[in-house]
Each structure stands twice: as structure tokens, then as C-alpha cells.
């Protein structure tokens, strides 16, 4: 029972933290700085991104470096749908438009995830990682060439410098223009909750256990009748769909958005959230996504040094969190300062590690 209880407590704490944070944000909204307020919706998006990537990296155990690609697909789908509904059908209800856009963003990203998953999931390890990266870059590159406009109630698409009739929604490399900003913090909060429900419930179900089995031991999983590709695909598509939803919310939070925004660095950023939160740890992903999104804002006092400090913090955090190595690191530092002795201890500690491996 205790393991079950632990899981229950963990889930309760995860939801509790998110709900509490939402309530606090609403309570102290007046006291918040403008820059922090502007961060609220993006934070929600990045949390969903981190939680969904965690499903692929932590739960299904495959390194994906193209998660931002799905986010961008969701973002531009959401923008197109929202613009189409507004300009083609004069739908003034913002909530309905937002919900439809998010659902559409998730659906298109999920579909794309499925199509990409077919070739990608045949590969293993670093090769899989590089192909996800490649797909992310292809998505960005192709989106750079897509032009969309609304003509009456018709949606018109063009590719590479076309002349389109009607109101332009998507303008190739210049991206989406004059988007109506309909994203709200409440919607973001609900999306985070939904993502948590999906991921946490999935993990603690038959499907989730099958996914984790493929991660822990592919051959053993097959031997008990688990179709590895199928379950890896489920994780991949679910994550892609969630990323698409996060993207739609993100896209509808800005009046302009260019495809160049979703470069490979964004995928890496999300991966950083996941790894720093503790791979496979959903609550950790939520917290690290929040902290690391706010951090650059908090470091504003450092002005030019802001990203530098961020980089150093990232490296130091990685060195510190991998504890057995921390000692070696400090020994190294000491060795640099005193120029004698400690180097030996470094080597000894590493040899011990080598035996373990």
C-alpha cells in the first residue's frame, strides 16, 4: 500500500502546488511587476511543454530534441483557426475561439507527431535524438515558407511568395501578423491542470506501465507481449498533442509571432527544464519550468550579464546535482588553487566510479 500512498501524495502535492500558485498569482496580481505579469501565460505554456516532453524523455526514455517544432505547429494552427473564426465567421466569443484554437493546435500537432513518429521511432538513442532535431528544423524551415489568408469564409494557403486574396494571417518568414491576443492566464492554468491529469493518470495506468516497461527493458517488454513501437508512439503523440496545445496558447498571447521564434534552442530549453526537474519527475518539471522562465527576468539587475549568469547557473546546477562528481569538482578547484595533492583524490574517486560502471 505504501507505494500507492506515495504516488497519491505525490500527485496531490503536484496538483496542490499548481493550484496554490494560481491562487497566489491571482491574489497578488496587483503587486506584480509588469514584466512578471507578462510572463504568467508563457510560464503556463512552458510548464505544459516540460510536462509533455517529460513524458517522452523521462517516461518513454527517448531523447527528443525537436519538441519546439510541435509547439510551433500548434501555435500557427491556433493562430490560423482563431483568425479564420474571427475574420471568416465573425465569431466574437473569445473563450470559444480560444478553446477551438487550442484543440485544433493539439490535434494538428498530434497528427504530425504520429506521422513523424513512424520513421523516428524505428531508430535508437542518439540517432533518434538527431532525427527529432532534424524534424524540428524542417518544421521551422517549412513554416517559413507558408502563407495563409482568409478570403470570405475560405482559408487560402500558399507556398513561397504567393499572392493571396483576402486578409493575410500568416506571412511566411514574417510570421503571423496582428493576431488578436485572446490567451488568458486562467486558460493557461486550466491547460496546465489538463496536462497534469493526462500525464499523471497515464503514468499510473496500464498504458503508462507499458511505456515505462519499454524504457526499462525493451527486449523484456516485447517478451511479455508489449508492442514497443505502439507504446512509444502513444507517448510521442500524446506529448506532441500537448505541446501543440501549449503552442496554440502561446501563439495567441502575442500580437505577432515569427517561425524563427521556435528554433532548436527552444527545444533545448524545454529539455533543460526536464533534466533539471529530475528526469521522469513531473512536479520537478513544473517547478524548473517556472523557475527557469522567471530566472532570466529576475536576473535583470545583472543587465548584460544576465544570460551569462544563467549559463553559469545551469552548469553549476548540473555539477552539483550529480553529487558524486561534486566532490571531484571541488577537489579540482582546490587543486587549481593549491597546486598539489588533491588531484590524486580526484583520480581515485573516478576510478571507483569506473568500477561501478
Amino acid at each position: 500500500m505504501s507505494a500507492k500512498k506515495k504516488k497519491l501524495i505525490y500527485n496531490a502535492v503536484t496538483f496542490g502546488v499548481v493550484i496554490l500558485a494560481f491562487l497566489l498569482c491571482n491574489l497578488f496580481y496587483g503587486q506584480m511587476s509588469r514584466s512578471l505579469r507578462a510572463q504568467l501565460i508563457p510560464i503556463c505554456c512552458w510548464i505544459v511543454m516540460a510536462v509533455s516532453l517529460n513524458l517522452v524523455v523521462g517516461i518513454s526514455g527517448e531523447l527528443s530534441l525537436g519538441h519546439a517544432g510541435f509547439m510551433s505547429i500548434g501555435a500557427f494552427t491556433g493562430i490560423i483557426i482563431s483568425g479564420w473564426l474571427l475574420k471568416g465567421f465573425q465569431m466574437e466569443n473569445e473563450t470559444l475561439r480560444l478553446v477551438l484554437s487550442i484543440v485544433a493546435g493539439g490535434a494538428v500537432a498530434g497528427l504530425l507527431g504520429f506521422l513523424i513518429g513512424i520513421p523516428v521511432l524505428r531508430l535508437r538513442g542518439d540517432y533518434l535524438a538527431i532525427v527529432t532535431l532534424a524534424f524540428g528544423e524542417i518544421i521551422r524551415n517549412v513554416l517559413n515558407c507558408v502563407y495563409t489568408s482568409v478570403d470570405g469564409t475560405r482559408l487560402v494557403f500558399g507556398f513561397i511568395n504567393p499572392t493571396l486574396p483576402g486578409t493575410l494571417l500568416l506571412n511566411g518568414p514574417n510570421g503571423a501578423v496582428s493576431v488578436s491576443k485572446i490567451a488568458t492566464f486562467t486558460a493557461g492554468f486550466l491547460l496546465v491542470l489538463a496536462a497534469l491529469v493526462v500525464v499523471l493518470n497515464l503514468i499510473n495506468s496500464r498504458t503508462g506501465r507499458a511505456i515505462m516497461a519499454t524504457r526499462d527493458n525493451r527486449i523484456a517488454a516485447e517478451s511479455v507481449g508489449i508492442n514497443v513501437t505502439r507504446y512509444k508512439m502513444i507517448a510521442f503523440v500524446t506529448a506532441a498533442a500537448l505541446a501543440g496545445m501549449a503552442g496554440a496558447l502561446y501563439g495567441l498571447n502575442y500580437s505577432t509571432l515569427v517561425p524563427g521564434k521556435f528554433k532548436f534552442d527552444q527545444s533545448i530549453n524545454v529539455l533543460v527544464f526536464v533534466v533539471l526537474g529530475g528526469i521522469g519527475n513531473t512536479l520537478g518539471a513544473v517547478i524548473s519550468a517556472t523557475v527557469l522562465t522567471i530566472l532570466p527576468e529576475m536576473l535583470r539587475d545583472f543587465a548584460d550579464y544576465r544570460m551569462l549568469v544563467y549559463a553559469v547557473l545551469l552548469i553549476v546546477m548540473m555539477l552539483v546535482t550529480n553529487t558524486p562528481a561534486t566532490k571531484a569538482f571541488f577537489n579540482n578547484l582546490k587543486g587549481l588553487l593549491s597546486r598539489k595533492g588533491p588531484r590524486k583524490t580526484v583520480e581515485v574517486s573516478q576510478r571507483k566510479g569506473g568500477d561501478r560502471a
Binding site: 495506468s205 496500464r206 515505462m212 527493458n217 517478451s223 511479455v224 507481449g225
Partner: protein, 297 residues
């Protein structure tokens, strides 16, 4: 007319003739029931190397069969052929009368073949109970949507899985270890858990790859009792690879000896022990070495 006859003759001339599998032995009680496994001329090449050749074996419905042979004889390869980790180059295998041609590992499992591994392959980051629940994957099922939305079916099936898992774990008295992380179990318990997980797939043939490796004599004794008990309780066939001759001679009804990928002997424990070919395969060189040493001394 004559042309057609010529064609027929030519086609017949191309026919490749193969010897019929030598008659296998199965326990008397299993006569009249369909054998669990029938291998005919099973063989596989890796590049130019023939790892297994002309493997013919029939296993009765409730037989405990042994597969023995010196290191590198191809025993695990036979298991890998039966679980479709490798596709055989030649020959066929039938599980419960169904030809296994074109099946993959997943299909082999669904058709009733379960196995353990020589180098233990547990889901070591997960709990003991979850390991067994994963074994129940194809037995107690519900959909992904039911799981995410926590529909009533979820709770019902989860309870069913939990109860079934504890029941299976109790075979080895492990029902209280459900929450322990599988990777942190002692070696013997890990081997036992692997057997439980394999049993959870509701197999008709259980393949055990060196189940007693790393166990002390007392544990091995217990394992022997348990294997017989599992066979009796579940009415399944067991085939095991083992180097511990006590275990093999103690519980295996039919034994098959493999050397250099070929079957060199088949029979009961007594027959195998008396077979000079087997003795040579196992002890031949060692014997000569011992004589030489004696001469030098």
C-alpha cells in the same frame, strides 16, 4: 502433352528431400493431447556461421523438458528462435499447433510462449508488483482513455490486476514485497520475480534460461519444487536451460543435449547420463587433460 509431362518431371527432380524428424519422446500422460511445441528442422545462420542446425523437438502439454549442452552450444539461441528474437533461417516451429512463421516476439508471447533471461531483464526501476502487472498486460486490459479519465473500468481492472499480481507473487512467497523496487531485490529473488512475470502472461510454454544460476543449493532445491508446483498448478509445459545437473536430472522428464548447434542426444535423465556421446561432449577433453596432468606428475 509431352512438354507438360517434361515440366512435371523437371519440377519433381528439383524437390529437395529432407529426413523426417526423429521421433521425439513425450510423457505418457500427454499422449492424445496436442503437443505444446513442435520444432522441425529449425536452424539459423549468422552470416556464415551456423548457430543452430536441424533442431527437432516435441514437447508434451505438461512436460518439464531440459535443454543442456556445453557453453556456446546454441541453447539460448534456440530460446531466441522460439521467442522470435531471431527469425529462423530454416525449418518451422509450431506452438499449440500454430505455425510460428512470420510471428514477432509480441505475437509469440500472445500465442503462449513466455521466457526468462540468462542475464536478468527486469524492469528494474519499477516496483515488484508493477513488474508483474506488466506481465499481465495482455491478460487484464483496459484502454488508454479509460486510464486517463479514470472511468469505472479503470478501478475495477486495477483491483483485478493487483489481486492477480499478489496471487502470482505468492507462488514464491513474495506477496509482501510488492512495493520493493525490482532492481534492489537480491539476485535469487530477481530470478524468481522474472519467473512470476513470465507466468503472468498466461503461457502454455515457459522457457527458463538458467533459472538456478547464482542460487545456493538450498535455493535450487526450493526452485525445483516450485517449478514442479507451477507445472501442476497451471498445467503448462516448462523448458529449461541449466548447467546445474542436479536440477536437470532431478526434475526434467525429457532432456535434449545440444553441442555445436546440433542435437547430439535426446531421452530421459537416465538415458542421457548413460549416453557415451554426451559424456564425451561434456567431459571428453577434460578427461584427456586430466590424464596428461597425471602423466606429467
Amino acid at each position: 502433352m509431352s512438354e507438360a509431362a517434361g515440366k512435371i518431371r523437371k519440377r519433381n527432380a528439383d524437390t529437395k528431400m529432407v529426413p523426417v524428424p526423429s521421433q521425439s519422446i513425450i510423457p505418457e500422460r500427454d499422449i492424445g493431447k496436442m503437443p505444446v511445441l513442435e520444432c522441425k528442422h529449425l536452424g539459423i545462420d549468422f552470416g556464415g556461421l551456423t548457430a543452430v542446425e536441424d533442431f527437432n523437438l516435441t514437447i508434451g502439454r505438461t512436460e518439464i523438458a531440459g535443454l543442456i549442452g556445453p557453453n556456446g552450444a546454441g541453447k539460448t539461441t534456440v530460446f531466441n528462435l522460439l521467442t522470435k528474437v531471431y527469425e529462423p533461417t530454416r525449418g518451422s516451429a509450431m506452438i499449440n499447433g500454430i505455425d510460428m512463421h512470420g510471428m514477432d516476439t509480441v505475437a509469440a508471447s500472445r500465442h503462449g510462449i513466455a521466457r526468462t533471461f540468462q542475464n536478468i531483464r527486469l524492469f528494474s526501476n519499477m516496483s515488484v508488483e508493477d513488474n508483474v502487472r506488466i506481465g499481465l498486460h495482455s491478460q487484464i486490459r483496459y484502454g488508454m482513455f479509460t486510464g486517463i479519465c479514470r472511468l469505472p473500468g479503470y478501478w475495477k481492472k486495477e483491483r483485478e490486476q493487483h489481486e492477480k499480481a499478489l496471487e502470482l507473487l505468492s507462488i514464491f512467497g513474495m506477496q509482501d514485497m510488492g512495493d520493493v523496487q525490482a532492481g534492489s531485490l537480491p539476485y535469487g529473488a530477481q530470478r524468481r520475480l522474472e519467473i512470476v512475470r513470465a507466468l503472468a502472461t498466461n503461457p502454455s510454454l515457459l522457457l527458463l534460461d538458467e533459472p538456478a544460476a547464482g542460487m545456493n543449493p538450498h535455493e535450487t532445491q526450493e526452485l525445483m519444487d516450485n517449478i514442479i508446483r507451477i507445472r501442476d498448478q497451471f498445467q503448462i509445459a516448462v523448458m529449461l536451460i541449466e548447467h546445474d545437473m542436479n536440477l536437470v536430472m532431478g526434475i526434467c522428464e525429457g532432456i535434449c543435449v545440444l553441442n555445436y548447434g546440433k542435437i547430439i542426444a535426446k531421452g530421459t535423465a537416465e538415458e542421457i547420463q548413460r549416453n557415451p556421446v554426451v559424456i564425451e561432449a561434456y567431459l571428453g577433453k577434460q578427461h584427456q587433460g586430466a590424464e596428461k596432468e597425471a602423466a606429467q606428475a
